[in-house]
Amino acid sequence: MSWVTKTLTSSLGRKLIMAVTGLSLIAFLVVHCAINACIFLNDGGHTFNEAAEFMAHNLFIRISEVGLMAGLLIHIVDGLMLWKSNNEKRPVKYAVVKGEANSTWYSRSMGLLGSLLLIFLVVHLRHFWVVSRFTDVISGGQKTLFQEMVEVFANPIPVVLYVVGCLSLAYHLLHGFQSAFQTMGWNHPKYTPFVKCLGAGFSILIPLIFAAMPIAMHLGWIK
């Protein structure tokens, strides 16, 4: 086994993969959130459609999209593998576990939160990514991406699903953000309090903005 494979398949290496892919997904969330927040300008989706159009045709963005998808898949597969192997490390479980005495419920439930996010992602990608990339509904000019959003969120079921997805994202980030820094070895009395604070702010703000989108559209605040 080469030293690279040996390192990346060790317990520390597999966590490093989770941290690096996780942080790249966090960076993606910033871009995704900023562009989608254009709908709050309430200009009939004009600015949002222009931004979406740019994202769909810019070469750099399209190449990054491949990297993003690869990162997402690696994060999911590595996460599931870690969950399985960690679970096997305690073949006989405790009869009584007082987890709340030593850790937060969401830090112990990253696999569950990640699985909820995965279910949300499948539906979310089907709603928008598949429609805009693999059909000619948007590119053929039948509808704009904004109109597609309005149609999807007219139905209350996707709205509820998206809000649950955002809630899972918030808790997943609340642990994952600062955890990624710890895994990469970036724990320092000067910077760690800042990282934790930034992580908490990010974990609340970004999902809140995302959750506001389907709600605002469903209630007709944004047209």
């Binding site: 060790s10 520390l12 679970n87 009869a95 009584v96 850790s103 112990r108 895994t183 070895g185 970036w186």
Partner: protein, 248 residues
């Protein structure tokens, strides 16, 4: 006080275990948890039963032998103490207390509440040592060590290897233990000779022993009787990445 104990009984590593209930009467609140078990065991012996096997040695919180998982927490409900330093005043009359052994693939049960923690010894053997030249000991002040480094190394060296970190971790990970041992040597000049090899070998041994990976829940730090900090795990990560990138 009168208590009901639900104790895990298991004859040996290969047999099936199960919980057995014991009523213990007349427990003094000044007894330690282990002394309460001594009372129970004396009775069991007098009645011709097999006493409950559990690890213990110094009974003053420094040897790291006692290892009971009490009511869902290693070393019981109090912070910063081992089971021998847990006193019965932490419980109420009429309580039912569930006592289990450390549960981890890497810590096979020897009998009842006693587990085999030699996996820790093998992690230490893999690299938790320093080279010492033969000859006369050098002058104590020949090696200047900064106070902050000495303090940090000492805080890491406070680890008594009891395994509460493994017992508390949902993944049965030994990263707090291994990182404390790597840290105490990485921080001192004496530890520099084997520094690169140490991180690689100890992490490899930790994985071989069948401990889990770290999810950074912080349960280990919260349950550690010696307050070993998570900063050590971050340091171990740095040591390990640095080692694999630079070793030849």
């Amino acid at each position: 006080m009168n208590l009901t104990l639900k104790v895990w009984r298991q004859k040996n590593a290969n047999s099936e275990g199960n919980f057995q209930d014991y009523k213990v009467a007349g427990v003094s609140e000044d007894m330690s948890f282990l002394e309460m078990f001594d009372v129970l065991n004396e009775r069991l012996i007098n009645e011709g039963d097999s006493p409950v096997a559990f690890d213990h040695d110094c009974r003053e919180g420094i040897c790291g032998m006692c290892s009971m998982y009490i009511n869902g927490e290693p070393h019981g409900p109090n912070k910063g103490v081992t089971t021998c330093q847990l006193h019965m005043r932490s419980f109420k009359d009429g309580d039912t207390i569930t006592v289990e052994p450390w549960r981890a693939q890497a810590f096979p049960i020897v009998k009842d509440l006693a587990v085999n923690r030699s996996a820790f010894d093998r992690i230490i053997s893999a690299g938790g040592y320093v080279s010492v030249n033969t000859g006369n000991a050098q002058d104590a002040n020949a090696l200047p060590i900064g106070k902050d480094h000495a303090d940090e190394a000492f805080a890491a060296a406070a680890c008594i290897g009891c395994g509460a970190c493994v017992a508390a971790c949902k993944n049965a990970s030994a990263m707090l233990f291994t990182s404390a041992k790597i840290s105490q040597l990485a921080l001192l000049p004496q530890g520099q000779a084997e520094r690169t090899m140490r991180a690689e070998k100890m992490v490899a041994q930790m994985d071989t022993e069948g401990f889990g990976a770290c999810t950074n829940t912080g349960a280990c730090e919260a349950e550690c009787p010696k307050g070993i900090s998570l900063e050590n795990i971050a340091r171990m990560n740095r040591e390990y990445y640095g080692a694999v990138l630079s070793s030849k």
